[in-house]
């Protein structure tokens, strides 16, 4: 349990440090806002309206494919760790073949996405 308490401690220290430096800088920095200064930067011109639009994002399908692949990667991790153990138990080829099937399915999925033109940014 201590292991994971450590992660929490790191997170807390990290956040505390960030807040500390921000407060420190808040305490010593000047603060002289003006209307022009607080305008969003658009290369020195008055911006064309708000940036919060229904912007076309070319990558949302990448994000979906990413979710699949990242989850798959997490499935591979435990297998990767245990592969030597399987080999020691004489199950090496069996475990290897199983993972090959898994990766083959992944690759088929990748090829499918590729052929569908999903992996093209536009």
């Amino acid at each position: 349990m201590d292991n994971y308490a450590y992660i929490a401690l790191f997170a807390v220290i990290g956040v505390a440090f960030s807040i500390f430096v921000m407060l420190l800088s808040w305490a010593i920095r000047p603060h002289r806002p003006s209307k022009v200064k607080l305008e969003p930067y658009e290369c020195g011109e008055i911006p064309f309206g708000n940036a919060w639009r229904q912007f076309k994002v070319g990558y949302y399908i990448f994000a979906l494919v990413f979710v699949i692949f990242d989850v798959e990667a997490i499935f591979i991790f435990p297998w990767a760790k245990e592969l030597l153990n399987f080999k020691a138990k004489g199950l090496g080829v069996f475990a290897f073949a199983e993972m090959m099937i898994f990766i083959a399915i992944l690759v088929v999925g990748l090829i499918y996405a590729w052929r569908k033109g999903v992996l093209k940014w536009d």
Partner: protein
């Protein structure tokens, strides 16, 4: 007797009659603060190093005014950023705008929890048994912060930058994770110390048994993904100075900008340190005969060499375009990374160690 942090604190607590069950939490606290200061120090001198190395590559001098050889330049820069007015656009989304740098910085710091700087438990804050998985999990958190930053700024350049960042980091997360799997397979362990230990020994009395020997492809994939993850040219499309002004941190100034900067350079050290650990034997010496040099120097030396390579690439190459970057990641790196796993599986099964 070896002097360790735990030993020192236990001794002090005994003298001061503080109960012994306070020792462990205090050690943790002190260790994390040490790591924090280590990061600050490393980042200060990585920035200096980058500027000096780029100066050297580009036939100019680099910083040389503040302190001897300009060594205090980045300290001066940090102090300037600390005392600089912090401008938040009037139309920005206030709280996300403030929180975004924290979301980006904290994971960059948390990764250091598992990085083994040297031999044994006293050179790593906490050697988690799922170290590699922890790294790949933590490294994907900053994306959220970057998207938050771009969105909260209410600035179109920032927004474009953060969209690009999301696409890029997400896409290169996969090859990065897939490239970290083969060392796990070869070592049979996800703990970073375990992986380093598995690389001990030499072949034919001369070649170190580093995983690089069978993982040249994996190492190359990892380094390319690492370039993208640490946002360096040729993959720095999320900042892309000549295209998007400064990308997602266009609107940031003062200390908030400094946190982004800190996270970026801390990340550069992280990815190099992980590469050194997974592929180059971490703190192991090149040859056992050289083990009189302390492990921590081996580790830092290998990491710095890799950082130098990253900086070298950064100052040599032009930048790829966003669609080229994506198709390279998905159509080249990911298939190769999968292939590399298959190859490594064959190595594990059919070659005796």
């Amino acid at each position: 007797m070896q002097i360790t942090l735990t030993g020192i604190i236990r001794l002090v607590f005994e003298r001061l009659h503080i109960p012994a069950n306070w020792v462990a939490p205090t050690v943790m606290l002190v260790a994390s603060v040490i790591v924090l200061f280590f990061i600050l120090f490393v980042v200060l001198y990585l920035i200096y190093g980058l500027r000096k190395i780029m100066g050297w590559i580009q036939a100019r001098i680099g910083p040389n005014r503040v302190g001897p050889y300009g060594l205090a330049q980045t300290i001066a820069d940090a102090l300037k950023l600390l005392a600089k007015e912090d401008i938040m656009p009037a139309m920005a989304d206030k709280w996300p705008f403030i929180i975004a740098p924290i979301i980006v910085f904290v994971p960059a710091y948390m990764v250091y929890l598992v990085i083994p700087f040297g031999k044994g438990g006293s050179w790593v804050a906490q050697d988690l048994s799922i170290g590699v998985l922890y790294i790949s999990a933590i490294l994907s958190i900053p994306i959220i912060g970057i998207i938050t930053a771009g969105w909260a700024s209410n600035n179109k350049w920032s927004l474009l930058g953060s969209f690009r960042a999301a696409a890029q980091l997400v896409s290169y997360e996969v090859p990065l994770a897939l490239a970290m799997i083969p060392p796990v397979m070869l070592a049979g362990s996800m703990s970073l110390q375990g992986i380093v230990h598995a690389q001990q020994g030499v072949w034919f009395g001369i070649f170190p048994k580093w995983f690089l020997a069978t993982q040249i492809l994996g190492f190359a994939i990892y380094m390319m993904a690492a370039l993208a993850e640490s946002n360096l040219i040729p993959f720095d499309i999320m900042e892309a100075e000549s295209e998007l002004v400064a990308g997602f941190n266009t609107e940031y100034s003062g200390m908030k900008f400094a946190l982004f900067f800190l996270a970026e350079f801390a990340g550069m050290f992280t990815v190099s340190a992980i590469a050194a650990t997974l592929f180059l034997g971490g703190w192991l010496p090149i040859h056992p005969a050289l083990s009189f040099i302390p492990p921590v120097f081996w580790f830092l030396g290998k990491t710095l060499v890799l950082i130098f390579v990253l900086m070298w690439i950064r100052s040599t190459l032009p930048r790829v375009r966003v669609d080229q970057l994506m198709s390279f990641g998905w159509k080249v790196l990911i298939p190769l990374a999968l292939l590399n796993i298959v190859w490594t599986g064959a190595v594990v099964l059919f070659f005796p160690r």
